[in-house]
């Protein structure tokens, strides 16, 4: 079981309040992702849940038990760190066994669990190596192994993939998602990468300056961002924002349109502009359009085979049914 509730939790470092009063519930078995730009307080929030930092006020409950003053070791949570934080002087076997040894578990049971975890994570052949002899991905798996053997109430991941190269990151992303499906244990995952958030989460918590901007499923955030910040943060490439007379036509201070919701044409469309940089990904092409008179640059996503040249003047048609409208404060207008 692992239902985690934060009740008016705050955190200050000296006179600086990094987390103003914050309420949040993460349901048992949920995969929650905290996402936001660096310095938004997402790691601090995770460390508060872990117990590695003390809350300044408010309450943290794990399965309706007050855990606010409980030391990290007694909260029944496991954490995977960005740097993996493996014990360099211990073999992989001893690393994975460490939490069980600390729990004074029976040695035979420790061996059984370590070997079970190693086989799940493809680490069986590496059990007697030291962390220094492993690749980044293997180290990450050891860190995960160390966290699963204890069968914790919830897993906490602090940017676990940011030290891996791009290809490995995609693979590990899948592995962690599969692990979650299999274990059905609560997971809280911190990242600054919105792609990780979108692909893995049941529930995304978007944070900015310690404040929760929006909580919702990936598609909820994509379809109905509550404000301009969430709209700009979720989705890649980022949403185009247009202000001024064009926005006024839609009775809004700002309108937002995603690059994938603009059609391009050589001849017709209400907007027009000049093609700047084109990014060809094969499956898609991203055009950066200038001189539209609407915004400095408008990004457009077109099919992989669409070919315009640098300097061509082209026409754009936004799909009005998926356009987002925001007021002067940046809040969504329904």
């Amino acid at each position: 079981m692992g239902r985690i509730t934060l009740d008016k939790v705050t955190k200050s470092f000296g006179a600086v309040e990094v987390i103003p009063p914050l309420d949040l519930t993460i349901e048992d078995g949920e995969f929650a992702v905290f996402v936001g730009p660096s310095g938004c307080g997402k790691s601090t929030l995770l460390r508060l849940i872990a117990g590695l930092e003390d809350v300044s006020s408010g309450q943290i409950r794990i399965d309706s038990q007050d855990a606010t003053a409980v030391p990290p070791a007694k909260r029944g949570l496991a954490m995977v760190f960005q740097s993996y934080a493996l014990y360099p002087h211990m073999s992989v076997r001893k690393n994975i066994a460490f939490p069980l040894k600390m729990a004074k578990m029976d040695p035979a049971e420790i061996t059984r669990r370590v070997e079970a975890a190693a086989s799940v994570l493809n680490l069986t052949d590496y059990l007697d190596r030291r962390p220094g002899q492993l690749s980044g991905g293997q180290r990450q798996r050891v860190a995960i192994g160390r966290s699963i053997v204890r069968e914790p109430a919830a897993f906490l991941f602090d940017e676990p993939l940011s030290n891996l190269d791009a290809a490995l990151r995609v693979g590990m992303r899948l592995e962690i998602s599969e692990l979650h499906k299999r274990l059905a244990t609560t997971m809280i995952y911190v990242t600054h990468d919105q792609v990780e958030a979108m692909t893995m989460a049941d529930k995304i918590v978007v944070l900015q300056a310690g404040v929760i901007e929006q909580v919702g499923s990936p598609l909820e955030l994509y379809r109905t961002p509550r404000n301009k910040f969430v709209a700009g943060f979720i989705g890649s490439p980022t949403m185009n924002f247009i202000e001024g007379p064009e926005a006024a036509k839609y009775n809004a201070h700002t309108v937002g349109i995603r690059p994938e919701h603009i059609d391009v044409s050589e001849t017709e469309g209400p907007w027009s502009g000049v093609v700047g940089v084109s990014e060809h990904l094969g499956s898609d092409t991203f055009f950066h359009i200038h001189e539209t008179g609407l915004a400095e640059t408008i990004t457009v996503r077109a099919g992989g085979e669409v070919g315009f040249n640098h300097g061509d003047r082209i026409h754009l048609t936004p799909r009005e049914d998926v356009m987002h409208r925001f007021d002067a404060e940046g809040l969504r207008i329904e």
Binding site: A50, L52, P71, P72, A73, K74, L77, A78, M79, F81, Q82, S83, A85, L86, Y87, P88, H89, F98, P99, M102, A103, R146, R150
Partner: protein
């Protein structure tokens, strides 16, 4: 062209390094050489360097006159005991300063170091009186305590520097894995800091071995270590350089050998943190 300049510079640097090294080592070398001379050759003018009648006579006389083994044993107990005790006390102190620093941590470190700036003789009188009252005068226990206290600031400083290099996340991981503070220090921090702790032990063992002020002032016949053994040869009946040198050589030989075998460890310890 550039290449030859570099080579010439290298040669000069090497020669310079050797010259400085020999200059620093010369007093020890001279002591060792003198210990093999007769008393006459030892004070001859001009001094003889290598071409004299090598003799072991001085060592025989020194061994006959005083019990080297007992002094050696005292040295080992005092240097070893004070170093071990110091490390046991310093590990938790350095842990707290390195991993849970407060606003005053830097001040405390400096204050600790400042105790080393006080001339030792300034506290000789009170400590002597305390020792008399507690019956610690001329005991090994007393010297272990005093030398431990004297070297404690250095031990804490060295360990603090080492611990600072250990990523805090690993200790946090241990905490998340259910380790108590004791288990965290015992199973995670200490094994990771072994190289640092080893060179700290070594350096402080050497410092304690060579400490003369306190060992001479607080001991008489029973607990005197090798420093007292040397000092006993510089006394009333006039100076006998050859015998004094023989005694000195016997006193520094164990630590010199220890230092020789562990010089890698020692250099690493002394330059740690200087280069990343």
């Amino acid at each position: 062209m550039a290449r030859s300049v570099t080579t010439r510079r290298k040669t000069i640097n090497t020669a310079l390094a050797w010259a400085i090294g020999l200059l620093i080592f010369f007093p020890i070398l001279w002591t060792i050489l003198t210990s093999f001379k007769t008393e006459g050759q030892a004070i001859s003018d001009p001094p003889v360097f290598l071409f004299f009648d090598w003799t072991l006579e001085n060592y025989a006389i020194v061994q006959e006159r005083s019990n080297y083994a007992r002094f050696l044993w005292n040295s080992i107990i005092i240097a070893g005991g004070s170093t071990l005790l110091g490390v046991i006390i310093a590990v938790p102190a350095a842990w707290s300063m390195a991993f849970v620093p407060s606003k005053r941590t830097k001040d405390i470190l400096l204050w600790m170091l400042s105790t080393k700036m006080l001339p030792a003789v300034g506290v000789l009188y009170p400590i002597y009186l305390i020792f008399i009252r507690m019956g610690l005068l001329d005991t090994r226990v007393g010297l272990v305590i005093v030398l431990m206290l004297i070297n404690l600031p250095i031990i804490v400083w060295m360990l603090y520097t080492y611990f600072r290099e250990i990523p805090g996340e690993i200790l946090e991981a241990a905490r998340m894995d259910g380790a108590t503070l004791k288990e965290e220090i015992l199973y995670v921090l200490t094994p990771m800091a072994v190289p640092g702790i080893a060179s700290t032990l070594l350096l402080n063992f050497i410092l304690a071995w060579n400490e003369a002020f306190w060992t001479l002032n607080l001991t008489a016949a029973k607990a005197g270590p090798l420093t007292a053994f040397i000092a006993s040869y510089s006394s009333p009946e006039g100076l006998f350089y050859a015998k004094l040198s023989a005694a000195s050589t016997m006193a520094i030989a164990p630590i010199l050998i220890l230092g020789w075998f562990s010089q890698k460890q020692l250099v690493r310890g002394l330059t740690f943190g200087a280069v990343k």
